[in-house]
């Protein structure tokens, strides 16, 4: 397998490894350093990719643990970083990359209010006509609904100005009934679960 030169922190290290650090897992693609990335064609041909040349961003390191968090007596309130940790590793439907690596989700675009039980996540599709935007938004929403306590109200919408049909997509994502009906569609549910599964 070709040595993968895309810089990602190896599990548990907390550092971003440099170009020379070999990856643990063999990859089908080789990615040069940020900010320009060239993703090769999908193996075995198949339909053309929506966005064949996405920009790939550097992953942020692991979260430093504070002394307050280590104390079991004090309750931890849910903050922006925790929500971001839940959604950063959601897979993009097209590329073997996470939403964090494609900068679709960023920590600054996550707003949590634990006291009022609200979460607002803005996501940025990689291109303004991305047809996967609804699916990506749905994956984020499903991940948060499954992971957070039931009291939370989850709002997921497109970063304003970054998509041609953001109003229509936002309306669908905000429609509780439509989301519930969509998740009863076994095919769609399978695609969403694939996006949410940990990459092996």
């Amino acid at each position: 397998a070709p040595e993968n030169i895309f810089p990602r922190p190896s599990a548990g290290s907390g550092r971003v490894s440099g170009l020379s650090t070999p990856r643990k897992r063999a990859r089908l693609y080789s990615f040069p350093w940020v900010p320009v990335a060239m993703v090769g064609p999908a193996p075995g041909g198949g339909s053309p990719l929506e966005n064949a040349n996405p920009l790939i961003y550097r992953r942020s390191g692991e979260r430093p643990v504070t002394a307050r968090e280590e104390d079991d007596e004090l309750p931890d309130s849910i903050d922006d970083r925790e929500i971001f940790d839940l959604i950063r590793s959601i897979n993009d439907p097209e590329h073997p990359l996470t939403l964090e690596e494609l900068n679709v989700v960023e920590q600054v675009r996550v707003k949590v209010n634990d006291a009022e039980s609200t979460v607002v996540v803005e996501f940025t599709p990689t291109i303004p006509h991305c047809s996967m935007a609804t699916l990506i938004g749905l994956s984020i929403k499903v991940k948060l609904i499954r992971s957070l306590p039931e009291r939370f109200k989850v709002d997921v919408h497109i970063t304003p100005g970054t998509h041609a049909s953001e109003h229509a997509v936002n309306k669908q994502l905000a429609d509780k009934e439509r989301v519930a009906a969509a998740l009863e569609n076994s095919h769609l549910l399978e695609v969403v679960n694939q996006c949410l599964s940990a990459r092996s």
Binding site: E150, R151, K153, K171, D175, K176, E177, A180, A181, E184
Partner: protein, 284 residues
Amino acid sequence: MKDSLSLLARIPAHPDSRCWFLAWDPSGTLLASCGGDRSIRIWGKEGDDWVCKSVLGEGHQRTIRKVAWSPCGSYLASASFDATTCIWKKSQDEFEVRLSLLILTQGWANRLVRGLHLGREIVWQAMNAHEIGGWGVGGGEGSDWIKCCSGLWDSAACSACRTALIAVWCIAGVVCSGADPSWKCICTLSGFHTRTIYDVAWCRLTGALATACGDDAIRIFEEEPLSNPQQPTFALTAHVPRAHSQDVNCVAWNPKEPGLLASCSDDGEMAFWKYHAWIAGVLL
């Protein structure tokens, strides 16, 4: 406003799932609830407790979104995400499926929908693919309106909206060419709800307007006694901020017992409330 709406009972109607809708039968003795667990439950009162009389579980393959009783009370219709509607017939205490229909428009199985004219634009109720045939949408406003229900007066209807407004409509005394009457908005209630309003219910006995909101609260409004019928003002007479632990999906007034309100929520629970109306500053 305190103690205007008091909790009578809270029942886990559809455990581990969400309860989407409630419907009282015309006699007010039975309550049908439906939910994400693909079943319909019929509830009746025995003594002081509400008990589940039947579970209708075999009719649908997906979430049941709405149920409605026929005016005679012998039939129940249910609509589901599996794109079918079931008609159930009640014989003695049992229900059986009489008819399973695959239809795209929901006839009387849905709440009565009035077409509302806004000049040349017609605002209508659209819920996913369940579109009421014959009405059109102008200006893209249609799908923002979730619900409209017929009110105490035949000529008044109330609609609830995703952006947390309620508008009250009245037939305008305007001569128009078509067969449909022309409606105009006579009152808008804004600033009370912080999230989507999922349901409104206007009590035919007391005139109180109940709302179910995504902020987990139930609110009751009443028309101010001395307001002009052409330009009414409504006052908030009851507000229960944490009526349920999640979104309140439906509120339904009992057709025979004034002040009895049922509500259901995403947490799968059903709650019964007693509303005490205020008249001239006196709590009834």
